[in-house]
Amino acid sequence: MGALDWFTTKLTDATNWARKFSLFQYPFVTACCGMEFMSVAAPKYDIARFGAEFPRFSPRQADLLIIVGTITERQGPALRRIYDQMCEPKWVIAFGVCASTGGFYQNYSTMPGADQVVPVDVYIPGCPPRPEQVLDGLILLQERIQRGEGHNQVAIRIDNGYDVPLAAIRPIGSKAETG
C-alpha cells in the first residue's frame, strides 16, 4: 500500500467527526426486537445523547440502517432496495441475533443474517439485546466512522481511486492503532 493512500486530511477527520454525531437512522423493524429498540430511543436510555436522534422513515433521508428483527427471504428484495435508496456514505447495524445470523430460526423461510443481502458494519447480539448493548454497538460504529472504515466509506474511497487493501481494515473494536 502506498503511504499516500493512508494520508488523511484534517478535513476528513472533521467530516467524519460530524458524521458520527449526526446519524439519521432508518429503523427497519420487523419483529419483537422493536420493543427494545423503542426502549433505546425513549428517554431512559436516550439514543439522542449520541446524536442518533431522529428516526427517518424515508431511506433517502437516512444514513444509518438499523435492521431490527428477523429477516425472511421474502423481505430480502425490499431490504436491499431500501439500502440502495440511502444516500452515501451509509452504515448498517444488525440489531439482535436474528438480524445478525438468523438466530434460532433454521428453516426454509428465514434469511441466515441480514448480511446475506446488505453489508453490515456492527452486529449486536442478544435476543433481544439490552439497550446498553445497543448503545455500546452505536459507540463502536461511531469509532468506525471516525476512522473511515465503514463498508460504504471504504467502497467510496476505492471508487474514487484510493485503493485500500481489505486486509488493512482493522476489525471493529480494536482500538490499538487509533489516533
Partner: protein, 173 residues
Amino acid sequence: MAQIVLDRLAARFTGGEILAAGTAHGDEWARIRRDAWVPVATFLRDDPATKMEMFIDLTCVDRFGAGGPGAAAPDAPRFDVVVHLYSVSLKHRVRLYGGAPEEDPTIDTLIPVWEGANWFEREAYDLYGVRFKGHPDLRRILMYPEFVGHPLRKDYPKEKRQPLVRRNAGKLE
C-alpha cells in the same frame, strides 16, 4: 360436550358420508368423505341444532405414511384438511377432517359456505400443495411466487432456502 353435532350428522348423512367420528380431549371430530365436504359443511351451518356460524380455522396435516384418527392406516389419504367450527349461539364446536390423497390432492372450497375460508385455503395450498376446487384466487399467500414446492410437506427439506436476492460477496458496497 357437543355429541348433538355428531348425532345430527349421523341422522342426516346415512349414505356413508361420515367415515368416522369420535371424541378427543372433550372435543368432537368427524371424518368426512371427500365428495360430501361441502354438503356437510352447509348442513352444519344451517341446521338449527348445530348452527355453526363461525369458521374458526382451516389447516392441513401431512400424514406422510401414517394414518390419522379413524383412518385405516394403509390406504389413508396423505393429506388431511382440518376445519374447526364453532357455534356462537349454541356454544359448541366440532372438527372436520377431509382426506386428500397424494396422487390427487384436491378438495372442494368452503368459500361458498364461509367467506372467511378464502385466505386459509390459500395458506393450506401454499404450504401443503392441496388444491381447493372452485377457489376464485388460489395463489400463494405466505411464500413468494418464485418459491418452488410446498415447504410444510414432510418431504420438503426444512432448511432448503430459495433466496430471492444475495449480495455479491466479492464487491465492496
